[in-house]
Symmetry: C2
Subunit: 427 residues, 2 copies
């Protein structure tokens, strides 16, 4: 209930898939002390739903809501503008805001939380990362007593859908089309497949888990577009699959003394890792604590209903006077690269001396070959094979591959993937 | 910080494994606004640790702490008495309490939470279920907006250690001894292996997730003592493993209209289920929501450090003025039995007519046989085989087995296990 003891008045901004799920859950469950009063959308006449109680005001004017006595706005419009300015104005007016807007929180979350606190309101964003999986409340409440040293996650359901379909033999382009037809991918899939969506979520998790405030633009992102079905065949040889992995880690005893490493992109993931288990649009987040060891969260990371659960849970928290634990974070620059094993796939017109030349180029960068193998069934004129190398920096490998790329026998650009190593940070 | 704005004064009651881990984390991380002031234990001279700051008072007298200006007691003594009366007295004095005591919360949690609220204090018990895995804050904060229809969990690390070792071929008695030597099992392992520890945790989770307040004594518990290595061999034939599963479920649209079913005991778990993945002392909890679908939490459920993380997180929540969302529950009686497929292992002196007699006894109870199979390598004089049956109530199967048990050819009592079916409650 609001400070006055009366019901908490709630407005939904954006009546798309998530917004209508939020309204549906509020109407079905009728959580105590919460009253849906307004729904905003453009072209509202297209949106009117007969199952919404008639007391609810439908409006095309955000100003009506910002000027009203609504206690909480639920921002589900997305993007930085105008959604960000609506959230800011609501907080300035002493209202609380609940949002699923990962981009807004990644870029402006710290400033907006400060604003909320200074005006006596709340800013909650449990739906911004991993939809219906309570990772954010888990970090703010349940793991606040640990010192989290690393996070690894499958944070983008679209990429996971595509890659788990490719694991069954399909090619990227075909699955992307299927994902678009199913509504899992946008017409322009850049945000998802090139890693920017996951990167915004990684920034939010790094802030809460590692207490490191990273600049999204500093985090290297690699697209999953270049992964092909043959890479899954070689992944199987290594007892791995391929997933888009977002990871951030403190190297050293803690944030004050250690570097933070972070990246987003396709990786080889050992089948024994919990990160290899999620199928379809599921999300998984692994949190490695110094004291508590590894904790894994998994479930439906997107979709109207799961995301709406996170939104409604945040509204209930506010209604119950529950405050998010304020976890102080510090501005942190990324201080290096992960040193990881890599797998490199070559496709060549086979001839003597190829391995020698590759080995030399790797050796020049201080990179040791671990294994070389090829799947049977290909002719010498179009021969794919894979080289795995011992832990090295991505940048060193790229320098070696730049030199190797000039080799005439290559039929395709070499394609490399980092291998996610199982690590145990438990105390 | 406490109401007065000064540091929150915290006392640890019980300086065993968890208590000393709590002190260690408080001393290492120095969470803002929290001050460890007292440590209570019997025979305190055995316990004194030189890394604890000298300002901390060590005492053998709980009364000193209850009479002091301590804001929060951390109760890690366990059991109903005297720990329960200490918590009650602290709450009556307006202090807050953080506890890992599942038994106390299972039997008296509702009354104690009411007391805490009436006196302006808090009662938090994130460590009471699944140690370092933030299931309780996940339910109270992140899933409060869903209607949870079922929970399934591996809630007892000792049983999971024993059963995952048996999966690798060991027999119960040997692994129990190993678990005792490692400190994972008590000298009297009854609470763990017979299911009472898991049952108390299931009661707590049912209250928070299903909003059903169950009487622990009503929940059927079955021991894992009778599981033997051969059962794992047959489980593999069914693509299953065996785990101690605690489950509770609402049958019907919601708690007001549906029955609650609950049980604790060994079950066949399909290898594809997340509940089959936890090894060693790990815990896993699956929460099935009407709107958000299945969410899985897994990690270290016990041990000093993981449990201490949950305790310290609760203390931090109190220090930050964060309140647990009060999820109203209602007194609920268990209204029936799970209808599940079963697997029954027989060991016989083989002779004609055995299957006919078993089939008849099952048919009399309306139970259909699904499959019959046996592993090679056994003689006719000591032949184990397995019968799987279509979904039926445990009680009906028990009646059939009572009749079958009188058959002269049986060399052992038939041993039956329920099969955990994958179910999807997502909306």
């Amino acid at each position: 209930m609001s400070a006055s003891g009366s019901n908490l008045k709630v407005a939904i901004l954006g009546f798309g898939t998530v917004g209508s799920s939020v309204a549906r859950i509020l109407c079905d469950l009728k959580p105590q002390g919460i009253e849906l009063t307004h729904i905003y959308n453009r072209n509202i006449s297209r949106k009117l739903a007969d199952w919404v109680p008639c007391e609810v005001q439908w409006t095309e004017e955000v100003e009506d809501i910002l000027a009203s006595n609504v206690d909480v706005i639920i921002e589900l419009v997305g993007g930085l503008d105008p959604a960000g300015s609506w959230v800011r104005r609501a907080l300035e007016a002493g209202k609380s805001a609940v949002t699923a807007n990962k981009k807004l929180i990644a870029f402006h979350g710290i400033e907006l939380e400060k604003l909320a606190r200074s005006k006596g309101g709340h800013l909650l964003y449990g739906a911004a990362v991993a939809g219906g999986i309570p990772v954010i409340p888990g970090l703010q409440q349940g793991l606040a007593g640990d010192q989290v040293m690393r996070i690894e996650g499958i944070l983008n359901g679209t990429c996971n859908f595509i890659l788990s379909k490719m694991e069954d033999g399909a090619e990227f382009g075909d699955v992307l089309q299927e994902a678009q037809a199913l509504g899992y991918a946008e017409v322009d899939p850049t945000e998802d497949v090139d890693g920017y969506d996951a990167r915004a979520k990684l920034v939010i998790l790094s802030r809460l888990a590692l207490r490191a405030d990273l600049d999204p633009n500093q985090i290297p992102c690699r697209s999953i577009r270049d992964v092909s079905a043959i890479d899954f065949a070689y992944a199987r040889e290594l007892s791995c699959t391929i997933r888009q992995i977002s990871r951030a880690e403190i190297r050293g005893a803690n944030l004050a003394t250690g570097d933070v490493l972070a990246s987003v992109g396709p990786m080889l993931v050992p089948k024994a890792s919990p990160l290899a288990w999620s199928r379809g649009t599921e999300n998984t987040v692994l949190v490695g604590g110094k004291y508590g060891g590894d904790v894994v969260f998994s479930g439906h990371g997107a979709g109207g209903h799961p995301t709406a659960v996170a939104v409604v849970s945040d509204v209930i928290s506010i209604a119950h006077g529950s405050r998010a634990v304020d976890l102080p974070s510090r501005k942190t620059t990324i201080g290096g690269e992960f040193l990881l094993r890599h797998s490199i796939r070559f496709v060549v017109n086979d001839q003597p001396g190829i391995i020698a030349e590759i080995a030399l180029a790797l050796a020049e960068q201080g990179i040791n070959i671990h294994a070389i193998f090829q799947k049977p069934g290909f002719g010498k004129g179009n021969l794919p094979f894979v080289v795995t190398v011992e832990p090295c920096a991505n940048s060193a490998l790229k320098r070696a591959l730049a030199r190797i790329g000039a080799m005439k026998c290559l039929l395709e650009k070499p394609f490399h993937l980092q291998i996610l190593e199982p690590e145990e940070t438990a105390g």
